[in-house]
């Protein structure tokens, strides 16, 4: 047992704030690190201590292991939490921690390296008797090798970063002539996101469901699963909406998948929190996809239905505690759903960077917000567009969805475009609300815009436009009665 009293959080944005909150609640001192672009970011303000670690580009700051280790040592931390993204799946970080006598809050370097290498992981799982998706067992060395492997598996195929996760460096390839360009792009994205250009290939399952199992494993061989998450609402292999429980799983299948996940974890010697991802085809067969060797973006949906704080559990496991619960203590209470709110155009999904002029977060019963932004915040162009997550809980799925629709209506992020209107469209989609969907759902969703609010919206636009152009509304209104463009004058419309 190594009591952890001070943690360096090697991340930024909502997840850094999330981890700092867990520290706050357990009387652990939190240490933030930040790039030059992030001095006024929320995670810097939230932590107890904060140190600058380099210029804005993440390769010069958040990805510099030496600087992070040095900051942890100098500030007297016993442990480092990597969050997700950045260095979270880079085995060099746990290795460097071990060398410096720091605790890495996550698995050890060996099991991370094993599982992080998607091709190695596939071999281990196949050996452990877990079904895997057909495809190459080794990273692709060249375009030529990719062409051969693709022909063997049969198009369509998927190119995936061997080192990464989270949808970065993933390309679907429908035919031979698309392959060369996709191979280059996937490799470049993989290098940019994970510092490793290796790409592998597997058969592309057509519109499967993406179901994953959250696990917790301590250092004494105890492994439990915390039920599943359904993450089939994806675009470009990026998850957008996640929920738990999954509508298509009955108790028997939940148990089978849970056992497979525990087997996968034990086979790889993995410890701490992790997620075993599966694809489920339309006949209900599931295939191992990968293990995410870290906290997931979507971990809150599991927290909402189990009541377990996964970050606190991670810290406890890392400090050498035994799991305080067994599989029999884990149950499902109600239903939870998460929407990822990104700074992207909700139609084109192009990044929308800018200055947040106004921020109102949803609240009330069953609503949880995890956010890395605040009002008057300039979103840096250097990092992931994920701004925040909304998670809702309901006694059943229907209530969780109704609350999410309410929460999205309450959420106001002004100054940039966000994916909020996209989420609304998914939630009111018949397939989604009936629970009958797969990873193809996003391409199938249609938005039939109602014109019910066209008139009121046109009126509002007119009045704001007149204000913007300083138009007199009526000729007999005195100059000083005109719309004020600034200040908080209580009489008259404030702007």
């Amino acid at each position: 047992m190594n009591r952890i009293s001070k943690i360096l959080i090697a991340n930024r944005g909502e997840i850094a704030v999330r981890i700092a909150r867990a520290c706050h609640e357990t009387a652990i001192t939190s240490v933030a690190v930040f790039s030059e672009a992030d001095r006024s970011a929320k995670h810097v303000r939230y932590a107890d201590e904060a140190y600058e670690i380099g210029p804005a580009p993440s390769v010069e700051s958040y990805l510099v292991i030496d600087r992070i280790i040095e900051t942890a040592v100098r500030s007297g931390c016993q442990a480092i939490h990597p969050g997700y993204g950045f260095l979270a799946e880079n085995p060099a970080l746990p290795a460097a921690c071990a060398a410096e006598g720091l605790i890495f809050i996550g698995p050890d370097a060996d099991s991370m390296a094993l599982l992080g290498n998607k091709t190695e992981a596939r071999k281990v799982m196949e050996k452990a008797g877990i079904p895997i998706i057909p495809g190459a067992m080794e990273p692709l060395k060249s375009e030529a090798e990719a062409l051969v492997a693709a022909a063997e598996a049969g198009y369509p195929v998927l190119l995936k970063a061997a080192a990464g996760g989270g949808g970065k460096g993933v390309r679907v390839v429908h035919s031979e002539d698309e392959l060369p360009s996709a191979f280059i792009r996937a490799g470049a994205e993989a290098l940019s996101a994970f510092g490793n250009p290796d790409v592998f290939l597997e058969k592309y399952l057509i519109e499967p469901r993406h179901v994953e199992i959250q696990i917790l494993a301590d250092n004494y061989g105890n492994v439990i699963h915390l039920n599943e998450r359904e993450c089939s609402v994806q675009r470009r292999y990026q998850k957008l909406i996640e929920e738990s429980p999954c509508c298509m799983l009955d108790e028997a299948m939940r148990e089978r998948m849970g056992k497979a996940a525990i087997t996968a974890v034990k086979a790889s010697g993995y410890t701490n929190a992790g997620t075993v991802e599966f694809l489920v085809d339309s006949s209900g067969d599931f295939f191992f996809l990968e293990v995410n060797t870290r906290l997931q973006v979507e971990h809150p949906v599991t927290e909402m239905i189990t009541g377990i704080d996964l970050v606190k559990e991670q810290i406890k496991i890392a400090s050498g505690e035994k799991l305080g619960m067994g599989q029999e203590d884990i149950s499902i209470n109600g239903a939870a759903i998460e929407c990822r709110i990104s700074a992207e155009d909700p139609e084109t999904f192009l990044p929308s960077v800018g200055y947040i002029t106004e921020l109102v977060e949803p609240a009330g019963p069953g609503v949880r917000v995890e956010s890395g932004i605040s009002a008057d915040y300039d979103i840096p162009v250097y990092y992931d567009p994920l701004l925040a997550k909304v998670i809702t809980w309901g006694k059943d799925r229907q209530e969780a969805i109704a609350r999410m629709l309410r929460a999205l209506d309450e959420y106001k992020i002004k100054g940039v475009k966000t994916t909020i209107p996209f989420h609304r469209r998914v939630l009111i989609d018949k397939g989604f609300s009936e629970g009958n969907y797969d990873t193809g759902i996003v391409t199938r969703i249609e938005h039939h815009r109602t014109n019910d609010f066209l008139e009121i919206s046109a009126i509002a636009a007119t009045i704001v436009a007149m204000n913007d152009e300083n138009v007199d509304f009526v000729s007999d209104v005195k100059q000083d009665d005109r719309w004020k463009l600034s200040g908080r004058n209580y009489g008259g419309i404030r702007s």
Partner: protein, 169 residues
């Protein structure tokens, strides 16, 4: 004073005049497509209006992106151009000849230029790669033609709307 409000599909004629300034709102008389309405408007924040119209309560968010007004209410998003009807409408001239300037759809970093000046490209062919928020986006030629100008270089930061390349068809 009347405005033409256009969302691309519908054109509405809106006339608004202020009747009264009260402590917490202002009353307007609005004539929309010939119909007269009394509207109470309270501006909660720069982008947020509370509107009461015939008892209905609307939270309307109005933001200006470029020359368009993006209006969000009850989950629906509309994008309007608002034009003073007295103004002479300047018809936008069609693109002269076959010269097309392709601009950056977002701020970002040019990480690769896949073409050079004078090269012939097909519609849909990648010309350069723009990275923003960790995503690589291939910017493709919208039409077939010859690349006549690439005013950016690899490693350059560009803002929304900056010219990326010129194509002549």
């Amino acid at each position: 004073m009347a405005f033409e409000v256009n969302d691309g599909e519908h054109m509405l004629r809106v006339e608004a005049s202020r009747l009264e300034v009260r402590p917490h709102d202002e009353l307007f008389e609005v004539v929309i497509d010939g119909e007269k309405k009394i509207v109470s408007i309270s501006r909660i924040s720069p982008a947020h209006l509370s509107i009461l119209l015939e008892g209905k309560s609307y939270n309307v968010e109005v933001e200006r992106f470029g020359k368009k007004y993006q209006v969000t209410t009850r989950g629906e998003v509309y994008e309007f151009s608002v034009t003073d009807e007295r103004e002479v409408v300047t018809t936008e001239k069609p693109q002269a000849g076959g010269r097309l300037v392709v601009t950056a759809p977002m701020p970002g970093l040019v990480v690769e230029i896949m073409c050079s000046d004078g090269k012939q490209v097909e519609a849909g062919q990648g010309v350069l790669v723009l990275e923003a928020m960790k995503m690589q986006n291939e910017i493709v030629a919208p039409v077939s033609g010859i690349i006549t100008e690439i005013p950016v270089e690899s490693g350059a930061s560009v803002n929304l709307g900056d010219s990326l390349f010129v194509i002549e068809s």
